[in-house]
């Protein structure tokens, strides 16, 4: 409990301003969630008429009923899991050893390689060259292409490299004296000591993969390979000018808006479930970037 008597008037005023600002930010970030959830549980008419503000109007589960009976929804949901899990594992397989190697002073050409990797954070080839590259590698419309194509990420490598660099040199030396080779030093010493950092980048990777939309949309054509985010986009663009759907939705109690909102809610749920468990790593990870321990 704070003892306000110890604070000057200026401090109190400052605290008040901060509280108001934080309150505004909270509302600004929370409201879209509440709004989407409310829309997803509202009737199609109410949503189209713009009546939904904070709570569901004419509460109904029709929109959910519509999407869960759509097999394409489940396929895209499954695909998102595949991209998220497969992509995260693939990324870790590349990022962890890469970060370790870059963190070692004995690596020949270390400065060059570090710069080489960091360079990609500021400059990249751009949409068309990347697309052509993927095409020529035979990775268009390929699930493996999505997993492999975005496996390496400079920011995460640098984050982990910095953490590895902060581990005292003597741990590596002790392990070497104990007979460990490079892989054993990494596997048995550095990785266990870097759990918080690895958890953090794992989280970054999961979130990025889960929300991955643009490249999946560009690179994937087959309906059975698209992730949830792309499916959502298809739904938004298709439903509103689909005559058949227009007839169905009039009869039923949902609309393009409520179906879209329901898909968004479904895509958020797993993140909402996981986030509280990894929140502490997320916060640490943000610090990791700026502060070298």
């Amino acid at each position: 409990m704070m003892n306000w008597n110890l604070y000057s008037r200026g401090d109190k005023f400052f605290a008040m301003v901060v509280s108001v600002l934080i309150g505004m930010f909270t509302v600004a970030t929370l409201y879209p969630f509440i709004y989407i959830a409310a829309v997803s549980f509202s009737s199609g008419f109410a949503a189209q008429a713009g009546k939904v503000v904070l709570t569901p109007i004419d509460a109904t589960l029709e929109a959910y009923g519509y999407i869960i009976t759509d097999p394409k929804f489940w396929i895209s949901y499954r695909n998102t899991f595949i991209y998220t899990i497969g992509g995260t594992i693939m990324s870790l397989i590349f990022i962890v050893p890469c970060a370790y190697a870059l963190s070692r002073p004995q690596l020949k050409g270390r400065r060059f390689f570090n710069l080489f990797i960091a360079f990609t954070m500021w400059f990249n080839a751009g949409l068309i060259p990347f697309f052509l590259n993927m095409r020529d590698l035979g990775l268009l419309d390929s699930m493996f292409g999505i997993i492999l194509g975005f496996a390496v990420n400079a920011f995460n490598i640098i984050l982990l490299r910095n953490f590895f660099e902060s581990i005292p040199q003597s741990f590596e030396e002790a392990a070497r004296m104990d007979g460990a080779n490079d892989f054993q030093v990494l596997w048995k010493v550095f990785i266990p000591l870097s759990k918080p950092a690895i958890a953090t980048i794992t989280l970054f990777l999961i979130v990025a993969r889960w929300n991955g939309f643009f490249w999946a949309m560009v690179l994937l054509q087959s309906e059975d390979k698209i992730p949830l985010q792309v499916f959502l986009r298809h739904t938004i663009s298709n439903l509103s000018d689909d005559d058949e759907f227009a007839i169905v939705q009039t009869a039923a109690g949902f609309s393009a808006e409520t179906v879209t909102a329901a898909i968004i809610v479904c895509s958020i749920i797993p993140v909402l479930i996981v986030y509280p468990f990894v929140q502490k790593y997320f916060e640490k990870g943000i610090l990791l970037g700026g502060v070298k321990e």
């Binding site: 002790a174 007979g179 000591l193």
Partner: protein, 358 residues
């Protein structure tokens, strides 16, 4: 057979040479201490023996095998690090077992080895604890245990006691000595603490500026320092050094003259540095022959003895004196008498000890 042999060992980082061709032989089962000020190359030398630093030039052999290009793990040496370098995510037993597991020792054997070593080091009750839950002394013992379990041919110690408080340091120093007596493994120990060097070493190697200044037993080095650097480094407080000039009967320091045994005859007029150990003087009154007049600055009581900080001309001197339970009688000291056979002489230019045939 020699334990460790360094022959013309050079270490350079690019154009910067930090170790300039060291020759040193450590006998089997010997405890050798490398001592010197920071940056003298002692740790670098140890790390070259360990294989953690590449050797720029020269030959390193361990048990008569040339190991210049042999990986640390294949040199059969174990090292205790200054910060212990215990793996924080492993408990004591796993820390000690780490190297054995990597070497694929059978599980049952690992268990008995660790139990034996833990027993020797008094770590049995702590085997399940993580390093963070141990005291400094216990961590130090685990670090030694990790080295011992491997039964290496050579132990390397890199300032292992410098992170401990003074009391624990004294205690651990004795434990290391006892352990060495018991295991009889060739040991090379690096420290900047001359007390550790004196108490632990069979032989001390005094290093300065990437070179060896002198090698010898602690008492040899204490009694017969090869040069002013060694004289100033060993002993606490270190040897007093004053500029002087030889006469037919002794040495003239400023206006005073102290007697030195007959051997100086014939060298009169030579510039020298006169070395006097703080504990080698007796307090005397002014005016006594062969006494060095001093003006007392400060008396620091240490209990049974006291340190007298004094001046003679421009030289600042420190002497040791018994207090006999009282320092009042020390405040009036005006001169010290130095037994002539205990005075050390060094060449004023080179700093090397002068042996005038005494």
């Amino acid at each position: 057979m020699s334990g460790v042999n360094l022959s013309g060992i050079v270490k350079a980082y690019g154009a910067l040479q930090v170790v300039h061709g060291i020759d040193l032989t450590v006998a089997e089962k010997e405890f050798v201490v490398l001592v010197g000020p920071s940056g003298c190359g002692k740790s670098t030398t140890l790390r070259m023996i360990a294989g953690l630093e590449e050797i720029t030039d020269g030959d390193l052999t361990i048990h008569d095998r040339r190991v210049n290009r042999v990986a640390p793990k294949d040199r059969d040496v174990a090292m205790v690090f200054q910060n212990y370098a215990l793996y924080p995510h492993l408990n004591v037993a796993d820390n000690m077992a780490f190297g054995l597991r990597i070497r694929k020792m059978p599980k049952a054997e690992i268990k008995t080895t660790i139990a034996d070593v833990a027993e020797i080091l008094g770590l049995t009750p702590y085997l399940d604890r993580r390093p963070a839950d141990l005291s400094g002394g216990q961590r130090q013992r685990v670090a030694m245990g990790r080295a011992i379990v491997r039964h290496p041919k050579v132990f390397l110690f890199d300032e292992p006691l410098s992170n401990l408080d003074a009391k624990l340091r004294t205690q651990m120093r004795a434990e290391i000595k006892r352990l060495h007596n018991r295991l009889g493994v060739t040991s090379v120990y690096v420290t900047h603490d001359q007390v550790e060097a004196m108490t632990l070493a069979d032989r001390i190697v005094v290093m300065n500026d990437g070179r060896i200044e002198q090698v010898g037993t602690p008492m040899e080095l204490f009694n017969n320092p090869a040069n002013t650097f060694v004289a100033g480094f060993l002993g606490s407080p270190p040897m007093n050094q004053m500029k002087g000039m030889l006469t037919e009967t002794g040495a003239k320091i400023g206006d005073a003259e102290i007697k030195i045994n007959g051997a100086v005859a014939g060298h009169a007029g030579r510039d020298v540095i006169v070395g006097i150990r703080p504990e080698h003087v007796t307090l005397s009154d002014e005016g006594q022959s062969s006494a060095l007049p001093i003006s007392l600055d400060l008396v620091e009581p240490l209990g049974s003895e006291a340190l007298l900080h004094a001046r003679h001309g421009e030289d600042t001197l420190v002497f040791k004196a018994d207090t006999n339970g009282d320092i009042a009688h020390l405040s009036g000291v005006g001169a010290v008498h130095v037994p002539s056979h205990l005075v050390k002489l060094f060449d004023a230019e080179t700093g090397r000890a002068l042996n005038l045939g005494t």
